[in-house]
C-alpha cells in the first residue's frame, strides 16, 4: 500500500464500483487517495477467448468457479457470477432496458412490498448517462419515458418482431442493449452469435473495454487478490477494512468505504462486521425465467442482429400487479432452437419470460465458519410470481394471435437468470431497510452498499442499467 489511510476505499471493480468512481472522480477536483481492493485479477477478454477456443492461457489460473466461492444450500438454484477485474461485466449478456416508473412504486400503485425511496424521475438523468457510457443500442420509442435517440441505432428486427411491433407499438421494441449494433469505441458490432458470456466479437460492454478510464486515474491504487471480509466499526462508523491477501490477514484504514462486490459478498462483509439490521441478508433472490417455444406455420423468424432481439411489455404493467407479477418478454435469436420438420427449420420463435419476484425473508444470505465464504439459502418462490406464470399461459395465445402459431411449448424454468438481487435493500430508515436512497448504510454512515443488493423490489427488467444509474446517482448526491 502507498498509504496508511485512504479517503476512499472501494471493494470490487464491477459495474457498481466503476460507475460510482466515474462520477466521484468527476465531482472531486482535489487530489484524493483512493484504494480499490479487488478479490480477483485482470483476466483479459482475449485470454478468455483463448480458453473458449480450447487454447492454453496462462490466465486460466485466475478463473474462480462461483460454486467454490459460496455455499449454495439449494442445488436446484444456481447463482453464476464472475470474480476478478470488471466483475460480472465479463459474464453478463448485455440486456439494458430501464425499469418502468411503476417498478419504483409497488406499494403505492399495487399495494405490494414497498416503494423505493428514489423514483424513476430521480434516476432519469443517470439512466441517460449510463446509457451513454455503455453506448447502448436502442429504439426511439420506448414504453418507459425517454426522449431522443440512444447512442447507437437499434438492432434489426426479425420477421416475427416486425409483426409484433406493428401490432403492439412501443410495447414491443428492439431491445435496448449493450451488445453494439455498430462498431463503437473499443467494441465491434454484434454478430448474433448468441453466446454473450464471453462475446466472440467483443461487441458487449465490459469494464475492460469500456474506455471509462477510471482505473487508469493516477489517484487510484488498484490492488488485486485482496479479498475483503469485514469492516472494523466503532461508534456507528467504519474505521478499517479487513481483508486477506496472499493468505495473510491485512487491515487498512479509510474515511469512506464503498462496498461494490455482488449482493452475496456485500452482505457477507456487513454480517461479519456485526451488522444487526434485521434486513441485512434478507429478501435475496432474482427474477424467474422460463422459455416458450413458438412453432410457426410458414413464417421464418430470420433477420435479427443480436441475441435478445426484442422486448415485449404486453404482460408487464397494469392493475394485475396487485395480484400477480409483471412479466418482461425477451425474444431470443438463439441458434439451438431450430426445427427438424422438412421446410420448417427456421419457423420458430422463442420467448424468454422474465417474471418479477418479491423479497421474501425465507430467502437469505448468511455467514459461515469461513469468513470468506457466505452461505446462500434460496427456498421459496412467491405465489405472486407463480400466479403470473399461470396467467401468462392463459394469455399468451391471444397475444400471439397476429402470428401463424402452430403450437406453443413451455419449457421448465431456468435454474438462474444471472440477476442477483437483494440482501441490502434500500428504504427510508433502519425500520424498513439496510441503506438509504443514496445507498448509505443506515447505521454506518460512512459505508455505501452499492449494486442490485440495494433494490427495494426486483422488477421484471434486467438489473444492470439500473444499478449503474444508481451508482451515478449516489456519487452525485453524496459528494
Amino acid at each position: 500500500m502507498k498509504y496508511d489511510h485512504y479517503d476512499l476505499i472501494v471493494v470490487g471493480t464491477g459495474f457498481a464500483s466503476t460507475f460510482f468512481l466515474k462520477k466521484y472522480l468527476e465531482k472531486n477536483r482535489s487530489v484524493k487517495k483512493i484504494l480499490v481492493l479487488e478479490r480477483g485479477h485482470l483476466f483479459p477478454h482475449a485470454e478468455r477467448l483463448k480458453i473458449k477456443k480450447g487454447e492454453h492461457s496462462d490466465f486460466s489460473k485466475f478463473d474462480e468457479p462461483w460454486e467454490k466461492a459460496i455455499i449454495n444450500k439449494n442445488p436446484e438454484k444456481r447463482w453464476p457470477f464472475t470474480t476478478g477485474f470488471g466483475g460480472c461485466s465479463n459474464c453478463w449478456w448485455g440486456c439494458t432496458p430501464r425499469f418502468m416508473p411503476s417498478d419504483f412504486k409497488m406499494k403505492t400503485l399495487f399495494g405490494v412490498a414497498d416503494d423505493w425511496p428514489v423514483s424513476y424521475e430521480d434516476l432519469d438523468r443517470y439512466y441517460y448517462e449510463a446509457e451513454e457510457l455503455m453506448s447502448i443500442s436502442g429504439p426511439e420509442d420506448t414504453p418507459f419515458p425517454r426522449k431522443g435517440k440512444y447512442p447507437l441505432p437499434p438492432h434489426n428486427f426479425t420477421a416475427v418482431d416486425k409483426i409484433l411491433n406493428e401490432k403492439y407499438g412501443n410495447k414491443y421494441i428492439s431491445q435496448p442493449t449493450a451488445r453494439a449494433s455498430r462498431s463503437t469505441k473499443g467494441r465491434n458490432a454484434c454478430f448474433a452469435n448468441s453466446t454473450c458470456d464471453i462475446c466472440p466479437a467483443n461487441a458487449k460492454f465490459t469494464v475492460e473495454n469500456s474506455s471509462i478510464g477510471v482505473y487508469e486515474n493516477e489517484q487510484i491504487e488498484l490492488v488485486y487478490g485482496a479479498q475483503v471480509y469485514s469492516l472494523l466499526t466503532a461508534g456507528g462508523i467504519a474505521r478499517k477494512v479487513n481483508y486477506v491477501k496472499d493468505g495473510k490477514d491485512c487491515q487498512i484504514s479509510g474515511e469512506v468505504i464503498i462496498l461494490g462486490a455482488n449482493p452475496i459478498f456485500n452482505t457477507n462483509i456487513l454480517l461479519n462486521s456485526g451488522d444487526k439490521n434485521r434486513f441485512t441478508g434478507k429478501g435475496f433472490g432474482e427474477q424467474l425465467g422460463m422459455q416458450v417455444l413458438i412453432y410457426l406455420d410458414n413464417l421464418k423468424n430470420t433477420g435479427g442482429s443480436t441475441w435478445v432481439n426484442a422486448n415485449g411489455y404486453m404482460l408487464y404493467d397494469g392493475t394485475h400487479r396487485k395480484d400477480y407479477a409483471a412479466c418482461l418478454i425477451e425474444t431470443n435469436n438463439a441458434p439451438y432452437y431450430i426445427r427438424l420438420e422438412r421446410g420448417k427449420w427456421l419457423n420458430m420463435a422463442s420467448f424468454r419470460m422474465l417474471f418479477e419476484d418479491l423479497p421474501l425473508d425465507s430467502n437469505y444470505i448468511t455467514t459461515t465458519e469461513n469468513r470468506l465464504v457466505p452461505e446462500v439459502n434460496f427456498n421459496t418462490r412467491s405465489d405472486y410470481t407463480l400466479k403470473a406464470i399461470e396467467n401468462m399461459k392463459k394469455t399468451l395465445p391471444d397475444i400471439l394471435s397476429c402470428l401463424p402459431v402452430e403450437k406453443l411449448k413451455y419449457l421448465d424454468p431456468f435454474p438462474n437468470e444471472g440477476h442477483i438481487i437483494g440482501g441490502t435493500r434500500m428504504g427510508l430508515s433502519a425500520a424498513d431497510s439496510v441503506v438509504d436512497k443514496n445507498m448509505i448504510h443506515h447505521q454506518y454512515r460512512n459505508v455505501f452498499v452499492l449494486g442490485a443488493g440495494s433494490f427495494t423490489t426486483f422488477s421484471a427488467s434486467n438489473p444492470t442499467l439500473t444499478l449503474a444509474a444508481l451508482s451515478l446517482y449516489s456519487a452525485d448526491n453524496s459528494f
Binding site: 428486427f157 454478430f191 433477420g303 438463439a334 431450430i338 427438424l340 422438412r342 427449420w345
Partner: protein, 142 residues
C-alpha cells in the same frame, strides 16, 4: 406409445434386460447407428455418409463416450425412435445441421450438404442460422 415399445423402453430403464443381448455383442458400433439415424431423418438432403460419420465421431468425442452411451444409442435405433420422440436424437440431428453448410445455403435442399466441423461460435465459420448475417434486413428499425 405402443405397448411393445413401452416394454422395451422399460427394459432400458431397468438395466437393458429385455432387448436380446446378442444385439449388443454382434451389432456394429454405436456411432454407426447414430449416423444411420441422421441419414434416415434427413433422407431428402444430399449428404455424403462419410461426412456424417466424421460428424458423429467429432460429436461423441466432444461429448464423452462410454459403454452405457453405446447401448443407449444402439437401442434408439432398434426401437425406431426418431427426433420427434427423443430429445437426444433431436439434439444430435439439429447439431449436425448447425455444423453443416445447410443454413449457409439458406436451407436449399438441392445443394449437397457438407459438414464443416462442430458448430462453435468461437471456432467455426458458421453463423447463427436465424441471423442478419444470412438474412440481411431490408428495412432498418427506427
Amino acid at each position: 406409445m405402443k405397448r411393445r415399445q413401452f416394454i422395451t423402453l422399460a427394459g432400458i430403464g431397468t438395466g437393458l434386460l429385455i432387448l436380446p443381448p446378442i444385439l449388443y455383442t454382434t451389432s456394429p458400433s454405436l456411432r454407426k447407428y447414430a449416423s444411420k439415424l441422421i441419414l434416415d431423418e434427413l433422407y431428402y438432403l444430399k449428404i455424403n455418409p462419410k461426412e456424417v460419420e466424421q460428424y458423429v465421431e467429432d460429436y461423441f468425442n466432444a461429448s464423452g463416450n462410454n459403454m452405457m452411451v453405446n447401448l443407449k444409442w444402439k437401442s434408439y435405433y432398434f426401437l425406431r425412435l426418431n427426433a420427434e420422440k427423443s430429445n437426444q436424437i433431436l439434439e444430435l440431428i439439429k447439431y449436425f445441421l448447425l455444423s453443416s453448410d445447410f443454413f449457409i445455403h439458406k436451407t436449399d435442399e438441392s445443394k449437397p450438404v457438407s459438414y464443416l466441423g462442430l458448430y462453435n461460435p468461437y471456432k467455426s465459420p458458421i453463423p447463427n442460422p436465424y441471423s442478419f448475417v444470412l438474412y440481411p434486413s431490408e428495412t432498418p428499425n427506427t
